[in-house]
Symmetry: D2
Subunit: 355 residues, 4 copies
């Protein structure tokens, strides 16, 4: 008899949502996409062409979708503002949840999701930090575990998007939580992975500027920012995020240990071609995040399906997702208030919040 | 109603065969693997675990499998010696055929397959030159088509395997057709692609040596060989093939045109990690062919399924597969006989064959 | 008649001093090394073998050396603590001065040198920031000037030394001024070069840790530090300095502009060799600063000689050397006091100094 | 007392000649350029400005120059056609000789130089194969000597010039000896170095084409050529030379051994800068041979001076220079006659010469 497949529903069919839907439909053999929800009529049109013919039932109401018989799980790729609510509802229907990052731009809201998840330990609840499923990052992690670089001490990580002159990012900044929460959260998650989930921040600094998107000022956001997080164990992570790259997506990480160093994607490339011309030798760069991490998202879908079906551990505890957003929020606060933030060894904040 | 899927059977479940089977099972959404054949009991054991539960009927007899109702296509990944016969039988049953390269190590036998295919132009018959489906090679081809390097004039291409001390390659040499037919055939196929299918060889030279596998001598084969093919249009291709790499698979191609140059995989890498130690900065290399070309095989499966279902052209004519083996055989002859081979402008060989 | 050569004396024959002496002796055709001073008997021994036979008069007293007839200039490569005094004395003797960086670890002392220099505008007085003479940095600067990256906005620069387990750096920390003054001063100088000498700091943050040299604690120094300088014009520079590299010297700079980016030495290398082994593909890295910048020091010697002989401008105003040390000192203060430092638009510091 | 310097005269002040002269004048501290000869009035004009003021006596007659008192050595950078004669004359005047490559395009003439040199073993006579003095090649050689790649078996080496549309190379082809003698001779010399001077060719093949310089046909030369030399010891070297590069000079060498591989300059670069733009990430390439090998020429001058002054061995026997030209000539013959050439184990040619 054919092995059971994970019956999964997709919520949201926008930029990331439709990719999750397609990955579960076509590239996760142990899962079966059986339902999809979107409040958007254009997305429905797309779904009628690309999902419905393959046996996917479409919904305009999230709650209705959750009632579909036989559902095991939901992948949430809607707007960030409804992630948490939808995740909680799904858990309440006894469904596993894979939620696009972040759970929320609000740390408190994130915590509600975690609390709900703690009540239902038999459910797999994961916030999708795609880099955890990337071959290169997994290889780097393996080398660190093997002790190849000694004790990891310094982490430099950047998330840099290609400049988008359309104004999209200005609008997006209204609710994104700011660049450190929206972009650096990936780098912070890597920090938790490579330094260990238990690390405790000691102090945080951040600086930023607006270079190409003046409209960001109205949302107290910036298009380039640099932040430092010092931890009590003596580690330091520093981050750069930018939406100003001329050449494409450039997400780079370096981990420096007491006995060696690792870099990931120091030399970004779209493929293995080099072009030689009168200008020199040129390598092209992926234009977007998905161009760099497509296969990581596919692996995420497969690993999530496997964890649900086999009841095996997820690669990261859901608490991490809160911690990453928390640190991102502190960086954003340090940026906006122009003040350094300090913590005691238990992680308790010293002084009052500046906001 | 769900769109029709290509009902495909897999012949051969060995090294490449089982990969083709899994790709059609799991990673080609428009295809459905419905049958599999292997004469080998170990392969059957594997298939009972990995294929049968997913609705794949298993066969120990190729002819029996071809009788299965509803079949549209066969992917052939058996031993080279039976490729042609199985391909012809499948066509005679009105099935599309994707055959692992080469069709045969004998040019005459290759031609029989092509003749059978010509009789049935409604069938899609493809010899699987995986590099045609590789992102990087496709990007390079696109740039050439756009004229980025002017007129392509010189092609350097190498297929270099990691040294395998097990003796496997010595045994394999008994029936592989020799290194130029077995390995360089990929590079020759790239030549036909990049220079144009119609190019006519003018002269051929080849030299080789045995450096690490003395047993190859009994099969008149070598473990390192270099060959040159000069074409009547003024182009030159030169090839290096080796089974002696210490570091892993290294398949590199350069195309030099009158106004620029392209390279593919000049700096092989298994992923985007660099390791920094007292020895310097190190990048790891894939150990095997599949490590370099896995996604090309997946694309091949998908593109083949699409061509069959939509009746669209395949990326290469089946005649090319013969031409590539023919040029490979001439290189092998030049190697063994230590003589240059010459051709007139129509491609007719000058002088007698030396063998 | 043979063109006049710059008659130059070398003060200090230690690590950098003897290199300056040899460069002026052998690799600066328009200069002639005619005198050398060292208070150290071992250095004298070396000089008797390597300098004296070539007509260089040796001194154990700096003041005596300055009296040598015909002297045009002095290159100062003694201990930092005497740089300023020696530079001032040389100027008072009407000699051009090339002084190894920094003029002093004290900003006030630096300023005395600058004041002396201002009194004698006919003298060439330069603090040797070697990277200004490096081919790659000069090429990067040229591209910025041509507008290739739009408006330079973000600068990332790191100075990372190979780990030296001998304890040298602990001892050295007693008087080095701290890592930001000793190491990052180069990166700060690049910032002044690439962003413009007139940029005014707005705020400064820094964090550091001790990972491999516990003895540094007694000197309030660290072996890894990260700092950020935000400028009033909207630019941000961030620095990493470390003495913990396993692989060698790694001095990297990136300049990100509104329309493009430049990197310098992102992939350090000792030469153009790659080694392929079972571990992968490896490039070696220079072990020391001089391994990376040797030719820049040679060019520095030549350009300094030319500026003196032809009375042409030096590539950087001496004031910059003070500004770089000043910013380095603020970073060090921010590191030690764990507080962000702020400035008004005129560059005046806000709040009291924390030290 | 100042150590004696090598008193050297420069013959020829053209493209390479004036570089040799300047290197001995300015960048070889143990040598003193005291005389220079050129038959060309423009070169004299240049010399009156750049050499004469530094005490260099100028000559319009080579023989006159040789009579200058105190001369120790001559560096010959005239036209190839007079290299041999001038070298022999210098030896007859008891002078050391550094001769630009090749000694001659005629093997017989080369041999006359060698015979003269053998009569005077106290003289240092060197043909300037600059790559022998290049840091990267020296490092590669050291690694081979240490056994890092096992037994060197396959050598791939290319000398590729930037396309020069001026027609210079067509004119030059009249007397250059052909591309294999003019360009690949460097790669052949590397072969002798890395495989050992005693290797004996077994068979030689070559193919070429004219892609961008139709005028070459009149001189039986080509602008792209590929050749293979198989040696009796089981090694194979293969060469590519071209004058068609769009991007600049690209001289690459790979040495593949039974246990590893080395590459030199696989990724050509003019410096350490990378430029990031909408096109991707670009590295520039040196436009000319001297851009790649300038420092090797400087080291050559210094090492030659040292060998003369200290009577230490030169890095390569003068016989090698003949052997390299001989192999280059055979490749050129194989190219022009379209026939493979064979040799017995003693190196004696089998069959008649085809020309």
């Amino acid at each position: 008899m054919a092995p059971r497949k994970l019956q999964i529903a997709a919520a949201g069919l926008g930029r990331m949502g439709h990719r999750h839907a397609l990955n579960f439909l076509n590239r996760a053999p142990r899962a079966q996409l059986v339902a999809a929800f979107s409040p958007d009529s254009k997305e429905h049109e797309w779904a009628r062409e690309h999902l419905e013919p393959h046996g996917v039932t479409l919904y305009t109401d999230y709650d209705e979708m959750l009632k579909q018989e036989g559902l095991d799980a939901v992948v949430i790729g809607t707007a960030t503002s409804v992630h948490a609510e939808e995740a909680i509802k799904a858990m309440q229907k006894n469904l596993h949840v894979l939620c696009e990052k972040p759970l929320s731009t609000s740390v408190d809201v994130c915590r509600q999701v975690v609390e709900e998840a703690k009540k239902r330990p038999h459910l797999k609840v994961m916030c999708g930090f795609s880099r955890r499923f990337d071959d290169s990052y997994q290889s780097a992690y393996g080398k660190i575990e093997q002790g190849q670089i000694g004790r990891p001490t310094i982490l430099r990580s950047q998330t840099c998007d290609k400049h988008d002159p359309s104004g999209f990012f200005v609008e997006y900044a209204a609710w994104s939580g700011g660049v450190f929460v929206d972009m650096s959260v990936h780098d912070i998650d890597l920090t938790l992975w490579f330094f260990g989930n238990q690390i405790v921040p000691k102090s945080i600094s951040a600086h930023g500027c607006i270079a190409v998107q003046p409209g960001l000022a109205q949302h107290k956001d910036v298009d380039n920012a640099v932040g430092i997080v010092e931890f009590w164990g003596g580690q330091i992570a520093y981050y750069y995020c930018s939406r100003m790259m001329a050449h494409g997506q450039e997400d780079v990480t370096e981990v420096i240990g007491t006995e060696g160093k690792l870099s990931v994607n120091l030399n970004p490339q779209i493929n293995l071609v080099q072009t030689y011309s009168g200008k020199g030798i040129t390598k092209e760069v992926p234009a977007h995040y998905y161009g760099r991490f497509e296969m990581a998202f596919v692996k995420e879908a497969n690993d999530f399906a496997a964890a649900c079906l086999d009841d095996t551990p997820l690669p990261m505890p859901i608490e991490n997702a809160v911690k990453a957003v928390q640190i991102g929020s502190w960086l954003q606060e340090a940026l906006v208030t122009k003040r350094q933030i300090h913590f005691d060894q238990s992680g308790k904040r010293l002084g009052k919040a500046n906001l």
